[in-house]
């Protein structure tokens, strides 16, 4: 290819590069710098160097710790649910059958809907006066009295997790299914000829084949859970029992107007996510060497 031809390529990259520079990289640099200053959203010109003060404030803040604990809870519980249910559904959907594409379309609906509306929908289900959940569980004998699901600190986190997993699970199933469909038929046929039981087939063939993609689903699930904002905010507002790190960050920056502290917290969240992604990539890489 001639050099002159490639000049137009630079032009084609320009829109992307401009958006990346103006809306991601420059703001990110400002975030890093401002996290070292004490800045108020009310008067951004009034600023003083604070060094690591903002980070210390964040780390000492009891609310941040509670929110971090909640985010950890959401991450662990949703990753577990998504992985177990995801594998089960993907294995069951692996073989093509009549109507499967319709089922996949229906399955992808929760992923496509706004989490804010999903939360509203589920709020109508959890609601003690107009909801249906209490009545169903009462009939089945799971509970012996109506529960106020979202006002109960023991239960509200589980409710938020349910709504989040409801949206994420279809995505996880689709990723796993993409992998399972590339599994060579011969492997399963050989296993069947050798008289392997369903459990053996899963343990020795399906699961090892699925394993590389598990790191992708874990990574996607982690990003989803750590970025959780809409569901708890729409269902229980800023209640401390369900508050996530991002809600805490929103409160710090936009309700308390502490920009510097808010940026320090935002950076800490971002760095944690990046480290987790590197960890998953390392684990996945070691997997491939085996």
């Amino acid at each position: 290819m001639k050099r002159r031809d490639n000049d137009i390529f630079l032009l084609w990259l320009l829109p992307m590069a401009l958006v990346l520079l103006c809306f991601v990289i420059l703001p990110l640099l400002v975030t890093v710098v401002d996290s070292l200053y004490s800045v108020s959203l009310l008067n951004v010109s009034d600023r003083s160097f604070a060094g690591a003060d903002n980070y210390l404030t964040v780390l000492k803040d009891a609310n941040v710790r509670t929110a971090a604990g909640n985010t950890l809870f959401y991450t662990v519980v949703s990753l577990t649910a998504e992985t177990v249910l995801g594998i089960a559904a993907a294995v069951a959907l692996k073989e093509k059958y009549r109507g499967r594409s319709v089922i996949l379309a229906v399955l992808s609906i929760p992923w496509a809907l706004p989490p804010m509306v999903n939360s509203m929908t589920w709020k109508l289900i959890f609601d003690p006066s107009v909801g249906i959940l209490n009545e169903i569980l009462l009939q089945w004998g799971v509970i012996d009295a109506y529960q106020v699901w979202l006002n109960n600190p023991e239960l509200s986190k589980w409710c938020v997790t349910t709504v989040h997993v409801w949206k994420m699970l279809p995505f996880i199933v689709i990723i796993m299914l993409a992998r399972l469909q590339t599994m060579p038929r011969e492997i399963m046929e050989a296993a069947e000829t050798d008289g392997a039981s369903a459990v053996q087939k899963f343990r020795y063939f399906t699961f090892p084949y699925l394993r590389p993609v598990l790191f992708i689903t874990l990574a996607q699930g982690t990003i989803g859970a750590v970025h959780l904002f809409d569901e708890p905010y729409a269902m229980t507002g800023t209640a401390l029992d369900t508050r996530t790190l991002l809600i805490q960050d929103y409160l710090t920056a936009f309700r308390e107007y502490n920009l510097g502290t808010g940026m320090a917290l935002a950076l800490l969240i971002s760095v944690s996510i990046l480290l987790l992604m590197v960890l998953y990539a390392k684990l996945a890489g070691r997997q491939e060497e085996w």
Partner: protein, 296 residues
């Protein structure tokens, strides 16, 4: 199994047995998935169609009988009662539509150009630039939201559709570029080489292969549109009143002194119609895009 080889007659019987088992499993899983996705949505629809009096009866009625369209009439302003609510809802709905369609078009244009370059041209730093783009996918708007707020204030783009659209473009561009690059990579380069021999320029070559990558473009557009329509936290900060999208409007209905369940539900049903239709009718592209997009 050795016996099976000696008496081949046994195998078809066993296989048949296994096949009926499989069919039963598939039917059961299909039913479970239908319930999983549709039951919650049924409850939303049912609440939007039930009258105020029937709503508070215990135990809750499973069917809205008689069904009423009063909530839909109110939120759309067809009954002439609460003018403010219906005006705000309709405006928010069109805000959502305009910003999402605009951002999707912009993302697609950027992604076609950049995705093509990344697929066809290796230059010093191209891998680094592409890697940087992928890293920003893990760090979406939240980590840059606070400085962006100041930029948007300085440009007077707070509470405007343009400002919100620009943020959406920056947030969803990386995935679209990734998708377009991987779709262009599946198109054989011979076509462009032949065209180049005939003296076709870069633009002609791009438009020559674009139809072959069209499924990828539809996938990227579908995912971008759905992601934009879903946003709540970003517009809550950047477009909370005049330019508010439908998600932010709906949250203003929640938590008023008296909760208007029917009105909320009717608004919810209307606001999920566009993403629902897109997800169902463009499902093939959505699923293909999600499958490819996750592999990064």
């Amino acid at each position: 199994m050795v016996e099976n080889r000696r008496w081949p007659g046994i195998r078809p019987a066993r296989k048949l047995h296994r096949r009926t088992n499989l069919a039963a499993l598939q039917a059961a899983v299909s039913a479970l998935i239908l319930l999983y996705s549709l039951l919650p949505l049924y409850w939303l629809l049912r609440t939007s169609l039930i009258s105020k009096e029937d709503l508070l009866k215990a135990p809750p009625a499973l069917l809205p009988s008689p069904a009423t369209a009063e909530h839909f009439a109110r939120i759309l302003g067809l009954d002439g009662s609460s003018h403010v609510i219906s005006a705000n809802f309709v405006r928010a709905f069109w805000n959502s539509a305009a910003v999402c369609l605009g951002a999707t078009a912009a993302v697609c244009a950027i992604a076609v150009l950049a995705g093509y370059v990344f697929a066809r041209w290796r230059f010093p730093g191209s891998r680094a630039l592409f890697g940087l783009l992928l890293v920003t996918m893990v760090l979406p708007a939240y980590s840059v939201m606070l400085p962006l707020y100041r930029v948007m204030t300085a440009l007077s783009l707070i509470d405007t559709g343009l400002g919100l659209g620009l943020i959406y473009v920056s947030a969803f561009m990386p995935l679209a570029v990734w998708l377009m690059r991987s779709f262009f990579l599946t198109v054989p380069i011979e076509l462009e080489e032949a065209a180049q021999m005939d003296g076709a320029g870069r633009w002609r070559q791009l438009f020559l292969v674009l139809p072959l990558a069209a499924p990828g473009l539809i996938s990227a557009a579908t995912i971008t549109f759905l992601s934009c329509w879903s946003q709540y936290a970003i517009p809550l900060v950047f477009a909370s009143s005049k330019a508010q999208p439908v998600t932010v409007f709906l949250s203003t209905l929640v938590g008023k002194t008296s909760v208007e369940y029917g009105l909320m539900a009717a608004g919810g049903v209307l606001s999920i119609l566009p993403p629902l239709l897109v997800a169902v009718f463009l499902n093939r592209y959505l699923v293909a895009g999600l499958m490819k997009g996750a592999g990064r």
